[in-house]
């Protein structure tokens, strides 16, 4: 019998076009598929990146689908695969599988004021959505962006943040947990920035991406502002191994984060233990 089905584990050969070391831990990559084939992702989706002999790791796409031809990642060095990726350079090849999961529901967000809050690594998937929104600026209401990082040295997309802040009807605020020499910006937790933002809760969608501890406190602030729980979107971090809803690693209650997520509404997950 011949196999009639295509393997869901099929890997495409991607080529690294550009790399840049951004921080001690984060490195930027621009990648293209053979024939500059479109990745076809939504903001907030992830792919599995392969380094042959080392393995595969789930990585968020940081660029917006509005930018065609190639796509981008900002990868934190955290384990075997990401460690090896950090040694790679222009012209090297990496395996790409995906995109997987449900990203941010951009159609649903149309017409809403957006309050986008990113903490640390969470700013990477959020970058995809912010770029998408700014590329389609007329479809969305006012845009508030809150960016939180540990230290001034770990601020991601620093140049772009300056550019975003200049865009019409966009307000951007940046804070670091610990300041440093020469830092003139804000110092303190991101939660402190939320109460001061004027919001019309019924017409606001909040998008939160960050470490688990951030969700706990940020979501409390958003609920205090009376933003409905189905208008609060979160992206959950799990260690997906297969990406196709089988291997079990990313499961949160009955959800496979790689299939039904990684983006959920807070309403969907608020009653599940082990989610945040």
């Amino acid at each position: 019998m011949t196999a009639l089905l295509e393997s869901p584990y099929e890997v495409m050969a991607g080529k690294i076009l550009k790399t840049r070391q951004w921080t001690d831990l984060e490195k930027y990559f621009e990648v293209e598929l053979p024939g500059r084939k479109d990745l076809g992702h939504e903001p907030g989706q992830f792919v599995m990146i392969s380094v042959p002999g080392v393995g595969e790791a789930p990585i968020s796409v940081s660029s917006s689908p509005t930018r065609k031809g190639s796509f981008e990642f900002v990868i934190r060095k955290a384990g075997g695969v990401t460690g090896m990726l950090h040694t790679m350079k222009e012209g090297d090849s990496v395996g790409i599988r995906g995109p997987f999961g449900h990203g941010f529901p951009t159609q649903r967000l149309e017409g809403y004021d957006l309050l986008m809050i990113g903490g640390g690594c969470g700013n990477i998937p959020l970058h995809s959505l912010i770029t998408f929104v700014l590329d389609n600026r007329s479809k969305f209401g006012k845009v508030d962006i809150l960016v939180g990082c540990k230290t001034p040295e770990t601020v991601l997309f620093a140049e772009e943040l300056k550019d975003w802040a200049k865009r019409p009807n966009v307000r951007l605020d940046l804070t670091v947990d610990r300041g440093g020499p020469g830092w003139q910006g804000k110092v303190g937790l991101i939660t402190k920035l939320i109460p001061g933002i004027p919001t019309d809760p019924q017409r606001t969608c909040a998008v939160v991406v960050g470490p688990p501890i951030m969700y706990k406190f940020v979501i409390q602030e958003l609920l205090k502002k009376e933003i409905p729980d189905d208008q609060i979107l979160v992206s959950m971090e799990r260690h997906m191994k297969c990406g196709v809803g089988k291997c079990g690693h990313c499961q949160i209650a009955q959800y496979y984060c790689c299939r039904e997520g990684p983006v959920f509404t807070f309403k969907e997950i608020r009653h599940f233990y082990e989610a945040i």
Binding site: M1, T2, A3, L5, E6, S7, P8, Y9, E10, V11, A13, K15, S50, P52, G53, V54, G55, E56, A57, R76, A78, G79, T82, S93, G95, C121, P211, P212, E237, R238, H239, K241, C242, V244, G245, K246, C247, G248, H249, Q251, I252, A253, Q254, Y273, E274
Partner: protein, 346 residues
């Protein structure tokens, strides 16, 4: 069409022998006093027909412990998917609990995006069920899980009726296989009656083994998520992962790369993994979403009695009793359900 045939016991050896000349035949083989394992056989008398479940369920033929899904050569930017097809194989002696396990795995792996590797193996497997006329031991809960009677999932199904096996066909493939061996005859009314008697006797023998009714299981588990029972189980569990390895419906896996000694060529394999292993739900930043053993045990139970109801419309427990039988810490499925059931009442 479902219909009944008969295979005389005196022909059983010849039947297995003939079958094994055409294709691989796997069946339970005795491994010590109370242990049995599915292994390749060529003779009928090598097969153990006792009802006690094998150490590992037949899932190992559908989804081996270790399976290559890709090959690569680091010098070439290309990954080659491997969907390896097993040789045709007949699995004989699959009890009704394990048949329901296979049915569950089929549903999971057949849900899009379909698992090509699993389905390619399944296409070459013929399943011959074997009825348990009596309980295997006190760990089983097949009546409570409604798996003590045949309910699909087989190509042929055998019931021991004394000097012969009553054989029910479940698929055209099963029917053809039986016909080709030439040992099967059409069942007469006397033999039909013997089967009826066995089933009647089973009604008396098999009683609900757990104190919670089938229909209420999901609610009980959903109501007792914060129960101290999980703390207690967690304090006893040694996180060895035996319970998930032996479970007929556990299918979680890891994907790993292996590189050859030339440091150039290698393969990507999928290997069995389980939610009881500490690293299972850990992410790169170090956060572990099920850090405690109690949380991991609760997750295992929820994946049998709550989540699959939502996703696949069925429970994922087959009542085979393997998890309890194999547990070094004596964590008992029946006792756990009983304790949770009592708590849900209050």
């Amino acid at each position: 069409m479902n219909h009944y045939m008969v295979l005389k016991k005196k022909d059983f050896n010849a039947f297995i022998e003939k079958l094994s000349k055409k294709m691989k035949v796997a069946a339970p083989v005795r491994k010590g006093v109370k242990n049995f394992a599915f292994e390749e056989v060529t003779r009928g008398d090598a097969i153990s027909r006792v009802s006690l479940p094998t150490i590992l369920p037949p899932k190992k033929y559908f989804m081996p412990q270790r399976e290559t899904i890709q090959t690569f050569d680091r010098a070439v930017p290309r990954w080659n998917s491997v969907v390896s097809e097993n040789d045709a194989i007949v699995i004989f002696g699959v009890h009704t609990c394990d048949l329901s396990g296979i049915q569950f795995l089929n549903a999971v792996m057949g849900t899009p995006p379909k698992d090509a590797n699993y389905l390619a193996r399944k296409a070459n497997i013929t399943v011959i069920g074997l009825e348990c006329n009596d309980y295997c031991d006190a760990y089983a809960s097949c009546k409570a899980m409604k798996t003590h009677l045949p309910s699909g999932g087989y190509d042929l199904f055998f019931t021991d009726i004394g000097d012969a096996f009553m054989v029910q066909t479940g698929s055209a493939a099963g029917e053809t296989l039986a016909q080709e061996t030439g040992f099967f005859t059409t069942a007469d009314t006397g033999e039909q009656k013997k089967l009826g008697n066995i089933r009647k006797k089973k009604e008396k023998i098999f009683k609900d083994e757990i104190s919670v009714k089938y229909a209420n299981l999901r609610t009980v588990f959903e109501k007792t998520v914060q129960s101290e029972v999980w703390e207690d189980i967690g304090s006893r569990c040694v996180a060895c992962g035996n319970c998930t390895n032996v479970c007929p419906t556990c299918y979680c896996f890891d994907i790993q790369d292996e590189i050859d000694l030339n440091l150039r060529t290698g393969r990507r394999v999928r290997v069995w993994d389980g939610c009881q292993n500490e690293e299972f739900a850990k992410v790169a930043g170090g956060e572990n979403f099920r850090r405690k053993r109690g949380q991991r045990q609760r997750h295992r139970y929820m994946r049998k009695f709550a989540y699959p109801m939502e996703k696949y419309g069925t429970y994922a427990c087959t009542g085979c009793g393997r998890c309890t039988r194999t547990c070094m810490a004596k964590i008992s499925l029946k006792e756990t359900i009983h304790a949770l059931g009592e708590e849900a009442k209050s």
